[in-house]
Amino acid sequence: MKGVEVTVEQVSRAYGSFKALDDVSVQIKKGEFFSLLGPSGCGKTTLLRIIAGFDYPDTGTVEFDGKNILPLPPDKRQSNTVFQTYALFPHLTVYENVAFPLRLRRVEKNELDRKVREYVHLVQLDEHIDKKPSMLSGGQKQRVAIARALINEPSVLLLDEPLSALDAKLRQNLLIELDVIHDKVGITFIYVTHDQSEALSVSDRIAVMNKGKILQIGTPYEIYEAPATRFVAQFIGESNIFPCTVLSCEPHEGEYMLKVDVPSLGGVVSVTDYDPLEIGSEVDFTVRPEKVRITSTPPRTMHKELNLYKGVVDEPVYSGFQSKFYIRLDNEEKSIVKVFKQHTTFLDEGPEIDWRDTVYVSWTATDGYLVKETNR
C-alpha cells in the first residue's frame, strides 16, 4: 500500500463559542477509503481542513504514519485536496491546471508532459485537454480537480463533498469512477459527504459525525445494521424508532432473544440482539421500513416470533421501483409505521394496497434492532 496511516487524536476546534470539533479521535488505515459522514455543520469539513492544513486545531494532534504533521504548512504535507467548488484555475487550460503542481516542482519537460497526459487519461479527459475550465461541464471540472490532486502522488487524497454540485445520475457514475481510481492508485482516501448513500456505496469504513463528535465508526454494513446511537439510526437510511424498556433477556442461538415493552406499538415486541441487556434498561427499538412486510390479509406464516399489527394506510407514496406507506396502527397510540414495498413481479403481489385500506404489518424478531445509546 502506498498510502499512509492517518491518526487524529483528541482534536478540538472552536470558533468562538461554537464547538466545531469536540475531542475527535479516529485512526484511518493505510490505503483505506474512509468517509466522514454527517449533516452540515457537524464538523466533518473542519476536520478535513485541519488534515489538509487550512485550519489548525486548538488541541490534539494529527499524524501521518506516526509523524506529527501539524507544524507543516499545506504545501509541505503529503496530502492533496479535491474541493467542493472544484477550485480550478480559470486562467489555465486543463493541461496547465493538471501540470500546475509539477511546474512548481520544476519537473523536466518531457517527464511533465508524459505525466500530465497519463493523469488526464486516468480521468478520461483526453479530448478536452486544451480547453479552459469555463468550457467544461461540472463533472468534467471535478475530474480535472481529481487529476490535479493526484498528479503529485500524495499519500492521502482529501475529498471535500466533491460530488455535491453534480446531478444525481452523474454523481453515481463519478462515484464508481472514484472507487476505480482508488483501487488503481491505492492511497488513503478521506471522503467528506452529507449523502449517506454515497458513503455507504464506496467506503471501506465510515465515521458518522454530529455536533462536532464522532458517534460511530464502522463498515457500511455495521453502520446500517447496527447503529450505535439514535442519531445514526435516523441519519443513515430510514428507521421506525420507538423508545422501549427491556422486560426479559435469554440466550438464543448464539445471540440473545429479548422481550421489550414498546408503548407506541401497544405492547411487547420480541427482538434479537448480539449483546445481553439488563432488564429494565431504557433503550430504543428500531426496525427498517424495508424489513416490514405489508399484506392485505394476515400473513400465513408459522413463524413463532412474528410481530404482527393491524393498521390503516395513512399515506401511500409511490416512487417507481417501490412504494412507501405510512401505516397508522390500530391501537391507542395511533403510531405511524413506515413501510417500503418493492414493486417486483405481478405474481408476488396480492391485491393492490391503497389509501385508507386496512392492512397488516409484520416483522420477525431478527428484523428489529435495539439502539443502546438513546440520548445522543
Binding site: A52, D75, F83, T85, A87, F89, F100, P101, S134, M135
Partner: protein, 309 residues
Amino acid sequence: MKKVLKPREREQLLGTVYAFPMGIWFTLFFTIPLGIIVLYSFLKRGLYGGVEWQFTFDAYAQMFNPSFAKVVVRTLWISIVSTLGCILIAIPCGYAMAKSKYQTFLLFLIIIPFWTNSLIRIYAWISILSTEGFVNTILIKLGILTEGVQLIYNNGAVVLVLIYMYLPFAILPLFTTIDKFDFALLDAARDLGATKLESIVKVMFPNIKSGLSTAFIFTFIPIFGAYTVPLLVGGKDSTMIGNIIVDQVSKTRNWPLASAFSMVLTFISLVGVFWMLYTGKREQQQSKKTTQQSLEQNVRKHHLPRGGK
C-alpha cells in the same frame, strides 16, 4: 398605413433619445475644445498669445528641443515610478479590504480625501515635509536629527505626493476585482505545493489582470498630465509636461506649442485607453466563444442521436 415599431426597435430609438443630452454635452464641452486644440497646434503663434491663421508645423518642430526632451523623459520616469508605487501599495490594500468584515467603512475611508480640495491636501504635505514641518520636528524631538532636513522641493517629494493623490484611483478598481476573486483558488494552489508568494503571483495576479490594467490607466494618465504637484512640492528640476503647457499658455504665450504638448499627452493617454479596451474586449470575446462552444457541446450531447456526427 402607420408604421408600427417592434419592441426592440422602439427600445433602440429610446436609447438614442436618452443619450442625446449627454451627446450634446460632450460635443460642446469636450469634442469641440479638443478640436480647437488640434487646430491650434498646427497654426502660427500670435505675438501676444492667441494664434494667426496660418498653417505650419512650427509648434511640433519646436518640441524637438533638448530642454523639452529632458522634461519629457522626466515626466515619463516620474509617472511610471509613481504609478508602480500606487499599484504596489494598492494590491495589499485591496486584498485586505476584500477580506475585511468592515468593507463599507474602509471604502468610506478611501473616499473621504475626495471631500477636500486637492490644493489644500498638497499644502498639507508642504507643512508635513518642510524644514520646520511635522516630520522634521518629530525627528529633532526624538534626537535623531539636530537640525531640519530639506525633504521637500525635490523629485522624491513629487513622487511621494503623486502616489498619495492617486492611490485611491488604484485601490478602487483593484478592490472590486480582488473582491470577486475566489480565494479558494489560493487554498488550492497552496495545497498543490505553492508557497504563499507563488500562490499569489501564479494564481491571483493572472485572475485580477483586468483590475491591474484599470488601476494602471486610472493612475498613469492623470499623473502623466499632473502640474500642480510638481509646481508646489517640486524643485527647479521637477518640471513636467503639464507645467510646460501652463507656462506656454500663461507666461510665454506660445499657444500652438502648448497645444502640441497637449496633443502628446492626449495621444499617450489614448494609446493607454485603447490598450485597455483591446485587452478587455479580447477577454470578453474569449469567454463568449467558450460559452458558445459549451452550448454547442451540450446540444450535441443531449439532442443528437447517438453514433451520428
